[in-house]
């Protein structure tokens, strides 16, 4: 008879091994050049794009963080449901245009877009550096998530550090071998298991503890009515904060270079449109995570770390083998986004930073080799940071979110407004980034109840529009809108 720990671990490792094996088998028969490795040869159908996007967008934050927020902060967590749903609405209007431009100019990354649209080397370089810097805390957070999940699911028998090391090794291996195709195929296993885990956690735990979701909420409304509405357990996350955060995140989330890059894997613009129609439904899994977090408020109060809430309550409710399933799903939920983040960061570095600055003569194959080498370097760096990481990662990541969103004016004005100029966008981005970072560094977030990143974005947009109108381009814009005929490629 296996001990509970051994059972949970065996199931968890079997799931992670299955996911990784799928990643290795995903290689196509085609030669793995840069185009195959980064955007899968632009041939993904609707199903694969759906799985890849769900794989990327629902990270360890969705698994541990959302329930953790429901547990520790209460009502303000509702912003997550609203912004993710609206982010797909944004993607419906932006991604097909972007795809069109991407196909004509063979764009693979977000800096490629800035380079083609604005022909401004400094702007492209800046966007690229911001993207890579923003990725570091993001990957780090995923690895820390794996560590937490394995350590709780093994009843504390496995330390987080070795778990993070094994996960990193697997991620680096399948990304190195098969690029974005591996990530998409691992997502199949991950997305499916996450739905299973979310239903079990969201419906099963309240059922086992209170006899149903309704009974749980009635109990909570009776004992902690403030937890269920905004600002919940927080002092200043009220309605103004909710509105500004939803807007910032809904507009900004597709500005993350990895989500941006997913648009280029699709085989047609129509694939992306249809995807945007269906994707919001997957957000329902997050609503289930809320149920689990709220249950934990009643059943395991006074936890030191809210992110542990859902796992601790799952460990107390389910038998060990099912804890293993949840742990495995959780581990893959961290590994898939970490993989795509590392892949994107490696491509950004090799293609948009190293080659233009240091080796203009480098061939596409040279870039592909360098990008693969960077996967190993970035994996090792993130692992080192995650092991020695501090508790400030979450605040770093929140800053990174606010900073990434500042690309929004550059992308949207670039696609839909012919008079916007590179310098205008550049000044706008710098103004937006400075506003957001300074407000956050001065602990003024939220400022007058508004999200600091949203304040930055408003400043950014205003500056970009005014600067573009005051200093019009000397020559007419190279690429007024995505629908107008193509200008010669910048490559």
């Amino acid at each position: 008879m296996m001990t509970p720990t051994a059972t949970a671990l065996a199931v968890m490792f079997a799931i992670v091994a299955l996911g990784t094996a799928v990643g290795f088998l995903a290689g196509s028969r085609e030669r793995m050049d840069l185009e195959q490795w980064t955007v899968g040869g632009r041939r993904f159908g609707a199903a694969l794009v759906f799985l890849l996007m769900a794989g990327e967008a629902y990270t360890t934050f969705s698994f541990l963080g959302v329930s953790g927020w429901a547990y520790s902060r209460g009502g303000p967590v509702l912003y997550v449901l609203a912004y993710i749903t609206l982010a797909y609405v944004t993607s419906f209007f932006i991604l097909p245009q972007l795809w069109d431009l991407g196909r004509r100019h063979r764009l693979q990354t977000q800096p490629d877009f800035f380079n083609t649209r604005y022909r401004n080397r400094y702007l492209t370089g800046f966007v690229c550096v911001v993207g890579i810097l923003a990725f570091i805390p993001y990957v780090q957070l995923q690895l820390v998530g794996v560590g937490i999940i394995v350590s709780v699911a093994s009843f504390g028998h496995i330390e987080p550090a070795p778990a993070m090391a094994v996960a990193t090794l697997l991620i680096v291996a399948f990304v190195f071998a098969n690029g974005v195709r591996a990530v998409a195929w691992v997502s199949i296993v991950k997305d499916f298991l996450m739905v299973v885990a979310a239903v079990a956690i969201g419906i099963g735990i309240p059922l086992a503890r209170f006899g149903g979701v309704g009974a749980m909420f009635h109990a909570l409304a009776h004992t902690h009515p403030q937890q269920l509405v905004m600002p919940g357990a927080t002092a200043n996350l009220g309605h103004a904060w909710y509105i500004s955060t939803v807007l910032l995140s809904a507009l900004g989330s597709y500005m993350w270079p990895h989500l941006f890059g997913t648009a280029f894997t699709a085989k047609s613009a129509d694939t992306l449109r249809r995807n945007a129609v269906v994707m919001p439904l997957y957000t329902l899994t997050l609503a289930l995570m809320f149920f689990a977090g709220f249950t934990a408020v009643l059943t395991v109060p006074h936890l030191r770390d809210g992110d542990l809430a859902v796992l601790v309550v799952a460990r107390e409710t389910f038998s060990p083998w099912f804890l293993g399933v949840i742990g495995g799903a959780g581990a893959l939920t961290a590994m898939v986004p970490a993989a795509i983040l590392i892949l994107t960061a490696a491509t950004l570095f090799a293609k948009n930073l190293y080659r233009p600055l240091l080796a203009p003569a480098m061939t596409e194959d040279g870039v592909a080799r360098l990008a693969r080498a960077m996967v190993v370097v970035l994996g090792a760096t993130s692992l080192a940071l995650a092991i020695h990481g501090s508790s400030t990662i979450v605040s770093l990541l929140l800053t990174a979110y606010a900073v990434m969103a500042q690309c929004f004016p550059g992308v949207v004005l670039g696609l839909f407004w012919s008079r916007v100029t590179g310098p205008g966008v550049f000044i706008g981005i710098i103004a937006g980034v400075l506003t957001a970072v300074l407000l956050m560094a001065a602990h003024l977030d939220p400022v007058f109840g508004l999200n600091a990143g949203f304040v930055g974005l408003s400043v950014n947009l205003a500056v970009a529009v005014v600067a573009s109108l005051l200093f019009p381009a000397r020559e007419p814009a190279a690429e007024p809108t995505a629908r107008v005929a193509a200008a010669p490629s910048a490559e």
Binding site: L81, Y88, A221, V229, Y242, P280, A287, F290
Partner: protein, 53 residues
Amino acid sequence: MCFSVTLWDRIEPMFFGVPFNLCWLILWIVLTPCCMWGAYRIETAAERRGERG
């Protein structure tokens, strides 16, 4: 739509035992694809017309 938050951020009335604010958002998660499907139909119809013209 998110500007209406003050109107719906409340616990009562509960539906199926779920607080009203959560219900409201879940309702919109389900309604959004319906609206988007409409937008998709309009968009593709416009594109087809554009191709013919």
